[in-house]
């Protein structure tokens, strides 16, 4: 007899090992066995992702492990998501502080490692991440964010001379009357909290782990705000 703990442990292991084929299978087995979808999410998938995040922070894991976990998590979420939607529809308070993120390295900048790490960590933390790549025009970032109903737009720039395009994006959102619709996070080696504040971004974080925490906090605040308003 396979216990619930066994199912969850198997899911966790596939996530830690970054097994993109095994993770959705293990998730489906748990669903079929009647394990609660929220338990699968929190104690299986997220628990595995947390281990990977910690090992990455301590230097035990490196970028490939993080990317593989991101892939495995994405595949597993494909199986779990329809079940979660039903749970969230019945009780919105159960919805985790995650959401949809559109992330890109802005126009003219081709550096992507930092952005990739943040994207992988966000994915590994349960966010739906649309990674648009590098050198992405700000109009395209906004258009995709509108199209997929993003909660967060994440902009990255390593180059000092590409950072002004982040300001342009925020200004354009304002001009379009869309600024309040999106949380805008900015990041990159030269991006400081002062810069983020100056250009009107909602926040920045010095590393990927803190970027995930910030994303959760901002989403939580935004949803609370919506609840109060509503």
């Amino acid at each position: 007899m396979v216990s619930e703990a066994d199912y969850l442990e198997r899911i966790k292991k596939t996530i830690i090992a970054g097994e993109a084929q095994a993770a959705p299978l293990a998730t489906k087995e748990a669903i079929d066995a009647g394990v609660d979808p929220l338990t699968i999410l929190n104690e299986g998938l997220m628990a595995g992702a947390d281990v990977v995040g910690r090992r990455f922070q301590t230097g035990e894991f490196f970028l490939p492990e993080l990317m593989l976990t991101g892939r495995a998590l994405k595949a597993a979420m494909g199986v779990l998501e329809p079940k979660l939607k039903i749970v969230y529809a019945n009780d919105p308070s159960t919805q985790a502080d995650t959401g949809i993120v559109v992330i890109a390295t802005v126009k003219t900048d081709i550096h992507d490692i930092g952005k990739n790490i943040v994207a992988a960590m966000l994915t590994a933390s349960g966010f739906e991440v649309h990674d648009l790549g590098v050198d992405v025009p700000i109009k395209s970032i906004i258009a995709i964010a509108q199209e997929v109903g993003a909660d967060i737009i994440g902009c990255s720039a390593l180059l000092t001379t590409s950072m002004p395009f982040m300001r342009d994006l925020i200004d354009l959102l304002g001009a379009m009357g869309e600024r309040q619709r999106f949380i805008v996070m900015v990041g990159g080696a030269s991006v400081t909290p002062e810069f983020a504040e100056r250009i009107g971004a909602d926040g920045t974080a010095p590393n990927a782990v803190q970027a995930v925490q910030l994303a959760r906090t901002l989403i939580h605040k935004a949803r609370q705000g919506q609840g109060t308003d509503g």
Binding site: M67, D109, H111, T161
Partner: protein
């Protein structure tokens, strides 16, 4: 066989298609991990300068295998640029053994250095790419150009010109790159070294500036410019354009693969393998005349971390033993001007590079992320490098000394706010272009201390 650069362009257009994510994971990460395992490559954080010729040879062998197995990737066309083993070996055989930088009495000749070479490294001063407001640019570069120990120079990037913000890809990049070169040439004349060789065109990230300064009034054929490889083992049309731009004009190409320690290659040994492969591939994709060795630490950025110094050292040893070529290694300390840690980081980094077979370039103080660099640490970098060769330091002695130096600065990597120090104009007197007394005092104290720690030849 490759007859001209158009062969590379053809391959970038017609090579096998692969998605970039699959290139990263399936080609680079998986192949590197496999090679690290089959060659049993490992590193010891207490042995930053390794006295293990077998390990250096294995790193070289694994890097060559990686280059042969995966090739390079064109991000612009999403195609693999494939090379035959013979072509890569031919590229290795054709690596330059002498390269004259600059002209006239200020010219210097770069050469491949050996492990524990008794010849001093050439000293290439400056903080390549560090953002500079226009008003600071000229005095900053003059602060290191005037140092007698300096052989060649480089510079930061202008972030504004005539009060206008410089933006990548905008027409103003043309103006900023030309302005940078105007300042550089003017500064060289003012310090009485007009023929000194430069690595420049740093104020334009796109190819625009590179194109704009390929003229004898700006960047001369006896100077060099960067032709970067992207992380990892990638090119794109912008950087290919830089290589093409130098074809007829003839300026020197510096390959720059900034391999990330903790990135796709994994830990330090995998990163070293990727770095070796990058140099081998860049002989052909970047038309490299010399190689810049600048690994980056995934979290700390700085080259003065243990793992990055290990990578620089082992890559230099690997090439010195197996395929001698000109390697200039960057020093990008975490700390900035007016901090003792900047000088200790510089010393550790310069010792590791010099004893392992590299020339010196730096310092990109404060991670090269602020105009917080000065001529004083460039002077110190050169003095330490020269002292290492005068003292004929062995690899083992160098390692012991570096471990002692790490005790003086390693805590900076745990400081959440870093250790940025101060801007150039707070560390130097702008009228006299001399270090302020406090900065000079720190330099004297650290120099004494480094001498006491074991580098007695430091004058």
């Amino acid at each position: 066989m490759i007859f001209n650069y158009q062969d590379i362009l053809d391959r970038a257009l017609n090579g096998p298609y692969i998605k970039e994510e699959d290139w990263d994971l399936q080609k680079v990460a998986v192949t590197t991990a496999k090679l690290v395992q089959t060659h049993k490559l490992a590193w010891d954080p207490e042995e930053i300068v390794t006295n293990d010729p077998g390990l250096a040879d294995a790193i070289f062998e694994a890097g060559l295998e990686l280059a042969k197995e995966v090739g390079a990737y064109s991000r612009s066309t999403e195609r693999i640029i494939e090379f035959s083993p013979r072509e890569l070996e031919d590229g290795l055989e054709r690596m330059l053994q002498t390269l004259v930088m600059g002209e006239g009495k200020d010219a210097r000749t770069l050469f491949p250095r050996k492990v524990m070479d008794k010849r001093p490294p050439l000293v290439w001063a400056g903080n390549p790419g560090a953002p500079h407001p226009e008003e600071l640019f000229l005095p900053s570069v003059m602060s290191w150009m005037q140092e007698p120990i300096v052989d060649m120079v480089t510079c930061g990037a202008l972030i504004d010109v005539d009060g206008r913000e410089v933006r990548t890809g905008d027409p103003i990049e043309i103006i900023s790159a030309r302005r940078e070169l105007q300042y550089m040439r003017q500064a060289l004349r003012r310090v009485g070294r007009p023929g000194m060789g430069m690595l420049a065109a740093q104020s334009s990230v796109s190819e625009l500036g590179d194109l704009a300064v390929a003229h004898p009034d700006y960047l001369r054929p006896c100077d060099s410019h960067l032709v970067p490889m992207l992380n990892e083992l990638k090119m794109d049309n912008r950087n290919i354009a830089r290589a093409v731009n130098s074809l007829e004009y003839g300026m020197r190409n510096a390959s720059l693969p900034c391999v990330i320690v903790g990135g796709l290659g994994g830990d330090a040994p995998g990163c070293a393998v990727v770095n070796v492969a990058s140099f081998i591939l860049s002989n052909l994709t970047c038309l490299a005349d010399y190689h810049l060795c600048h690994p980056i630490h995934m979290r700390h950025i700085a080259t003065s971390t243990r793992s990055v110094m290990w990578v620089q050292s082992i890559v230099e040893q690997a090439f010195a033993r197996n395929a001698p070529c000109i390697i200039v290694s960057d020093i990008y300390p975490k700390s900035g001007a007016m901090t003792r840690e900047l000088l200790y980081e510089t010393a550790a980094n310069a010792i590791a590079i010099t004893v392992s077979g590299g020339h010196l370039e730096g310092c990109g103080s404060a991670d090269g992320n602020a105009p917080n660099g000065t001529g004083l640490e460039a002077r110190f970098m050169g003095e330490v490098g020269h002292a290492v060769t005068r003292q004929e330091l062995s690899l083992k002695e160098a390692n012991g000394l570096i471990l002692r130096l790490l005790e003086r600065y390693e805590d900076v990597f745990d400081r959440p706010e870093g250790n940025k120090g101060v801007r150039f104009d707070r560390a130097y007197d702008l009228r006299t272009l001399r270090p302020k007394p406090e900065w000079e005092r720190m330099y004297d104290e650290v120099r004494q201390d480094v001498r006491k720690l074991g580098l007695e030849a430091l004058a």
